[in-house]
């Protein structure tokens, strides 16, 4: 790769790459994001390569491209074949031979690998027509399947770094800041602070040394928006960062990424190296006189380091603990210098603003939340994965149209948005428009984009307890309302779920929650009570059932449930007895089975394995277990088979 010294040379380079590529040549794009890799995408790629060789094809006839995550993780490994955009799901290494011989050579679509719409059993071949994709607006992750994240040439071929050229040649730094302001883009890290305004603060500083930082410390359980962007298209994040550095007047940047994202670290490191090699990072970028260097820093696994002042402390080599603001990082940030920190997704939006104008963002969404937002849609939903949608879409559309609803015919119960300190939203609010303000109104938050769907089998006390437990371990422990508040809320939640809840516990929880919310030092403590407050708000009856009736309506809290075999229904089939790992089931052939409650661990295996024709195992909660039938009455007689 040559060093590129001017915008004209970059255009030459781009033309040269494109001219060597035939858009009609078949290309097998295999997702090798973390999700698909875990499902065996690496072996699928190897199988394709071997098969191409075996069937005597060469690079002139077919290309193979290892890409980032296109989002439909539920059905991985995902393979998309260009130029027809044929999308094959759950592809196994054994499928490679058929795909090469049929789809590549014979141009035939293999029906069995296509998506089948469960509503009408129709197969869909084109990726963009699958309901999961059709209802999205994929401005940020759309390119993931089109480029190899290890090839800067791929990114340049799809128009990469043209936004940087525009910024450097056509706009002054002030104008770039104004464009971001005009787009009304709000930060995607959680707080939703207007990005342009934030840039303006750091840009206004007269200090010579300034910093820009990518916050890639994505720590919410079940969230992987930033990981997918960094793994799939690290170039766009870097391009946004370089543009931001130019606008703010920073010559040095950091990318703070969690060490638990090895593939993201690998791809970003390579993307930085490639950009340095061709002169898009370094001295005198594209002959503009602007210098910029980036250092990648791996965090050591603390959720709180996603908070910007804690991140700065961590970058400086100190303990990752937040500091009070003001002073804000824009005034006194990294090493005491003005610093602008944005989240991965925010930076990814910047090239779009430069390339397409600020209205590309500002024309989408609701009054105060513009552009698209990526969510990780997980939990009890058919189409688990990464979805990018316009702000203002309803939760119902995300969960049912894109996510395909709740599996197993179960009833939807709640959706938890905004990561561990988000809130649980019940069915009655599913039609709200998803944006920063509407989510806050119903007691949840946008956060960075986690979205966990829960069905009727989920106990809301259990959910709130889970998130509190996470936060108890991840709070830095510096300020007392957060540390003590979370500790005490967790201990009260524990006793409620164990059936030891007391009258007045709900009010006590609310009281602690409000003090934690209002008096904590940083946003972690400020939002930590959300799981408790939102579940009390919408599921108070469940709290009361646990406290007053010692009953868990979702049959999830082990201390409050019991399993019982109905002697009228038991056919003595021995299945539950064999599967019981606690050896708690007494019984034999033609002997009605009985659960020894002393030994039973309430794991629920017997309930799951009891044939549906018998349904002899029942769950009990809030009521006593009937005494076992006397041994002499257990023999099944007169029922000849």
């Amino acid at each position: 790769m040559p060093r590129i010294n001017s915008p004209a040379e970059l255009e030459e380079f781009r033309k040269d790459i494109i001219s060597k590529r035939d858009p009609n040549k078949p290309c097998i794009a295999v997702c090798t994001g973390t999700g698909c890799l875990a499902l065996g995408a690496g072996k699928v790629v190897t199988a394709f390569k071997e098969e191409i060789e075996k069937q005597g094809l060469d690079a002139k006839i077919v290309d193979i491209r290892e890409t980032g995550c296109p989002g439909f993780c539920e059905r991985g490994p995902i393979v998309v074949i260009y130029p027809d955009e044929t999308c094959y799901l759950q592809v196994q290494p054994d499928d490679a031979e058929e795909i090469i011989s049929q789809t590549i050579i014979e141009k035939k679509v293999i029906d069995r690998l296509l998506y089948v719409d469960p509503s009408n059993d129709v197969t869909i071949a084109r990726e963009s027509e699958i309901p999961f994709y059709k209802n999205q607006m994929r401005h940020l992750i759309g390119n993931n399947i089109k480029i190899d994240p290890k090839s800067i040439e791929d990114y340049i071929a799809v128009g990469g770094y043209s936004a940087l050229v525009k910024a450097l040649t056509e706009e002054t730094p002030e104008q770039v800041v104004q464009l971001v302001k005009d787009s009304n883009l709000r930060g995607r890290g959680g707080a939703g602070f207007p990005a342009g305004t934030k840039w303006g603060f750091a840009a206004a500083s007269k200090e010579k040394k300034k910093y820009v930082i990518v916050n890639a410390d994505e720590g919410d359980p079940g969230a992987f928006m930033d990981r997918a962007l960094l793994e799939g298209n690290p170039f766009a994040v870097l391009e946004g960062l370089i543009i931001g550095a130019y606008a703010i007047g920073a010559n040095e940047g950091y990318l703070y990424v969690r060490q638990e994202y090895p593939l993201a670290v690998e791809n970003v490191t390579l993307a930085i190296k490639q950009a340095e090699k061709i002169g898009l990072i370094g001295e005198n970028i594209l002959g503009s006189g602007f210098d910029f260097k980036i250092t990648l820093h791996q965090g050591a696994g603390a959720f709180v380091c996603g908070e910007e002042t804690a991140l700065l402390a961590s970058l400086e080599g100190k303990a990752g603990e937040p500091k009070p603001r003001p002073p804000f990082p824009a005034v006194k940030g990294l090493f005491g210098k003005p610093t602008n920190i944005n989240n991965v997704e925010t930076w990814s939006n910047i090239p779009l603003i430069l390339n397409n104008g600020p209205e590309y963002i500002s024309s989408i969404g609701t009054e105060n939340s513009k552009g698209t937002k990526i969510f990780s849609l997980v939990g009890k939903v058919n189409n688990t994965g990464l979805v990018e949608v316009p702000m203002g879409i309803s939760l119902r559309d995300i969960i049912f149209k894109i996510g395909g609803g709740v599996p197993g015919g179960k009833k939807f119960k709640a959706v938890q948005t905004g990561g561990p300190s988000g809130g649980c939203i019940p069915e009655e609010h599913l039609d709200i428009k998803v944006d920063f303000d509407e989510l806050a109104k119903v007691g949840a938050i946008m956060g960075s984009g986690g979205m966990i769907v829960m069905d009727e089998d989920t106990c809301m006390i259990d959910v709130a307890k889970y998130f509190l437990k996470f936060l108890a371990g991840e709070s830095c422990g510096k300020c007392s309302p957060c540390r003590e508040g979370i500790t005490h809320m967790l201990s009260i939640m524990n006793r409620i779920s164990e059936g030891k809840g007391r009258e007045g516990d709900i009010e006590f929880l609310e009281e602690i929650a409000i003090s934690t919310q209002n008096a904590s030092l940083c946003a972690l403590g400020g939002s930590a009570p959300n799981p408790v407050l939102s579940t009390i708000r919408y599921f108070r009856d469940e709290y009361e059932a646990h406290i007053k009736d010692r009953r868990c309506p979702a049959y999830a809290c082990k201390e409050l449930i019991a399993y019982y075999i109905d002697p009228e229904k038991c056919k003595a089939c021995m299945i539950c007895k064999r599967k019981c790992s606690a050896e708690a089931i007494v019984g034999a052939k033609k002997q009605i089975h009985v659960i020894d409650q002393e030994k039973c661990t309430n794991c629920g295996t017997c309930y799951e394995v009891c044939p549906s024709g018998f349904s002899a195992v029942t769950r009990l909660s809030g009521e006593p277990v009937p005494p076992p039938i006397p041994e002499e009455e257990r023999t099944i007689v007169g029922k000849s088979k």
């Binding site: 009070p324 422990g477 300020c479």
Partner: protein, 207 residues
Amino acid sequence: MSKIHLQIDGRDVDAEEGMTILETARSVGIHIPTLCHHEELEPYGACRICVVEVDAGGRKGLVAACVRPIDQNMVVTTRNEQIDNIRKILVEQFLAHAPDSEVLLGLAEEYGADKDRFEKQSTFCILCGLCVRYCVEVKKKNAIGFYDRGSTREIKFIPELAAKECKDCKGCFPLCPTSYLQAAYHLTEALAFPSTTFVGRGSVHSK
């Protein structure tokens, strides 16, 4: 340094730019309670007992007075029902660790805190960090530090450093609001100070 004009509890106050709310309030004799604050140490903002309400141009919010710099025309309220409630809960939570602390019992009386409302925590330390910061900032010895985070955060003497530095210092002892510090020191001394003399199968300290 320019002059800043603000209001605290309805009183007009003039102060220097860069001062905190706590410093400003104290300069005119308005009392705001503190636990983790110490004149000789950098403001820390951790115990939050100094929480006050700030109205800056119509935007109200609760802040820690010890770390929040004053702004022009800021309106500060040092006590109201919400503030008192927060202080009461904080004191109650601290008392769950250290029920006999005189400082805390004094605050409990002031804010009507019930020392038995929260489940007792057998740590005796309220993690104000005075000892840690005193050792770092004033003595520059780093013989005591924070260990772990969240619910399991605690203070710990670093035996190798403490064995060398603490014997003739103990400057942090009087700062501790709960007297846990001394116990922690003696425990570390007894259990973990590096020993230099070995006698038989056991080991003893060189005195």
